[in-house]
Symmetry: C2
Subunit: 445 residues, 2 copies
Amino acid sequence: MTSYVDNGTDNPNAKRRKLEVPSYVALTTHPTNQSEEVKLNWGAKSPKERRPVIGQQQGAVPRNTIGAHGGSYSIYKALAVATGSLDPHYIPNLHNTEPPFEIPPNPSWYGDDTYKTIMSMDPWGHIIKDAFADELKKGIDIRPTIAVTKAHIDVPEIIDFVRKGEMKPDGEILHENGKISVGKAAIDPVWYLPGLAKRFGVTVAELRQHLFQHTNGMFPELLTRTDLDVFLPPVGGMTAYVFGDVEAIADPDRKVAVRVHDECNGSDVFGSDICTCRPYLVHGIEMCIRMAQAGGVGIIVYFRKEGRALGEVTKYLVYNARKRQEGGDKAEEYFNCTANVAGIEDARFQSLMPDALLWLGVKKIDQLMSMSDMKYNAIVSAGIEVVDRIAIPTDRVPADAQVEISAKVFHGYNGGGVYKVTEEDLKKVKGRGEKSQRSWRRRKQ
Amino acid sequence: MTSYVDNGTDNPNAKRRKLEVPSYVALTTHPTNQSEEVKLNWGAKSPKERRPVIGQQQGAVPRNTIGAHGGSYSIYKALAVATGSLDPHYIPNLHNTEPPFEIPPNPSWYGDDTYKTIMSMDPWGHIIKDAFADELKKGIDIRPTIAVTKAHIDVPEIIDFVRKGEMKPDGEILHENGKISVGKAAIDPVWYLPGLAKRFGVTVAELRQHLFQHTNGMFPELLTRTDLDVFLPPVGGMTAYVFGDVEAIADPDRKVAVRVHDECNGSDVFGSDICTCRPYLVHGIEMCIRMAQAGGVGIIVYFRKEGRALGEVTKYLVYNARKRQEGGDKAEEYFNCTANVAGIEDARFQSLMPDALLWLGVKKIDQLMSMSDMKYNAIVSAGIEVVDRIAIPTDRVPADAQVEISAKVFHGYNGGGVYKVTEEDLKKVKGRGEKSQRSWRRRKQ
């Protein structure tokens, strides 16, 4: 198998790239003459001026981004090429893949407002076949970075509400058998680095330098190709679920309910009772359905930011430290435990989160199912009005999750009049304990 | 803010690294004298000989891996440094983070058998405080790549079984209120490239070249640092859930039930009825509990390989193509639709999957809750005996998921005598349809 000198380009230097790094660096250090022709003009009003996001060089057309399509799944695609199971030249057949419903352009899709213009995804990513029809006709390999579809979903808790008569089927949004009709969009990250740098209050050079150095040298083009402003990072994306009529989002006379949810696999999928993640997600879905049934629309955006974007390994280490600390798991040490293990309490960068809401055209949120001040501040900074902040009903909070919710409310989360935590309360709240045990080594002795 | 010239090392060249790529390349092209002292000896029997996985250079000790800790979350950590919220010098405080139960060493943790020796995770990753106590005393920044903890989980479907009396609480594994006691381990990917290359049947040079080129230049050290054999890739990891007595895994007289589950967020979290993912996961949990209650042990391993490791955007594009194709969604076109969009049907590389089972010490699986031949073949190739393959009960398969299961059974999935699909059946099975709609552009006209 010698396909490894075939890097999916018609570049005459491809063979010389093989294992010679200096020539590779030479190839990527300097912009090619072609790159000006495809340079992305982020914020341009029309897709024609903005130009398509091109994630892979092919033929005479170079990429206009750093990184690769598919977020972290680009690694698996590379393995597929390595094993000969994927042709690196393959161009997706996008026949019949178009969205079954519309998410039309709105003013946040263009412009250069640091917070009110989309900076972390490609707003045209779901309609490339319309927006870049001419380029596709020319055979340019443009790929959707967003996919929109419809689904029927079965949420056991909602089915139970229907069974108990606590929620009434309407036959359109919520069905007799408890099924829910939704529209949904999967969104891959597309980062406009100058825009991100502004939101983070750092220079673009600093952002690029740190992204490169503190990932131990990932994507040298972050330093060498300063002509490329857009980065396709190997991180998880997000998924937006819409309940009810999507056109209600843009209608000032109709109400919008929103839950922006950060992934917590242990709770969302397996129902771990140490946190309120799945209970809050289910409460969000319930409120979205009720809002849609009342003539408005509900939106859940699910962000792949496991364990506050520190990952699940860090999260479990923190659980152990919390359970075993002097005096047991207590609200007052909740945030310190994470900072001890990770050096930081939270790495979710909520300032990126509102882009998904801006893309959908959200201008006003009548019901925000979240108590997080970080989320609230990010949303308001994006120019989205928040009317009501809805706290999770107290009876939905698992006993062992009292530590989490008390700590969060005390540290500025909005208790919505339902949750109040004084310094005294904070000291009182305890969770289940956990004792350590002998190690395999000590056991052997 | 000038902390961006501080790259978290004591390297005197750090400042010169700033934006000068040639010097950076010089720094990483050649092994340092130190690297021999910390070189990982993958497969060595004792942790002392194997040496610790070091993911970040600090002080005089260089990293002995390519990539960064935390999988894809390394990107968020880099953002945290860029914004000044994380000190790049921070060394985790691991006090009290040890596993609350043991996963002791077993012969698959060392050796060089292509399939029977762990190649895609660090078997010592959860017990670094024991295994590398001396190195930690010296102040070397060694980080766990695995974290083990305990949890109580609430799975609505299981709570419903208890309510209906279909499952009997035992007070230890399954409680009166339907809560389930589990042990769990979060595992980050740690890839020994020579081992992966062997499993994939390619040369290490080919694997490194493709990983580098088909991610558009990620980690040049894949080419320049051939002295580093271990890669910390920016992909999601996996989570192992253990039901019942973990010591039963190694006991030949006690039975083991296993479900190896690949992430499907749309079904696992939101209950999308187009596939059998959550139903199969819940069936797996149910069978694991029953096995544990019968004196055995149950294991669920959850792999972060969304949409067959092609990602959720590709998955939704395929859904649309399936629903809209000539004649509607049909089993006979199930796999073709994915291949049309992605160029490949599946990128999950199940040959990596058994490592998690080997790590836990699984030698025999009495009940494997999976119909997948790819999973079965990978497990058997790892030297693990499979006694029974359990198909999902037919009444757990959503109506719209008949297309998926029929296609899979016809293409070699094991129907366990319950599912039989002839070519005639295959042509008959249809799912819900979906019509296209006018685009925003055509609508404007």
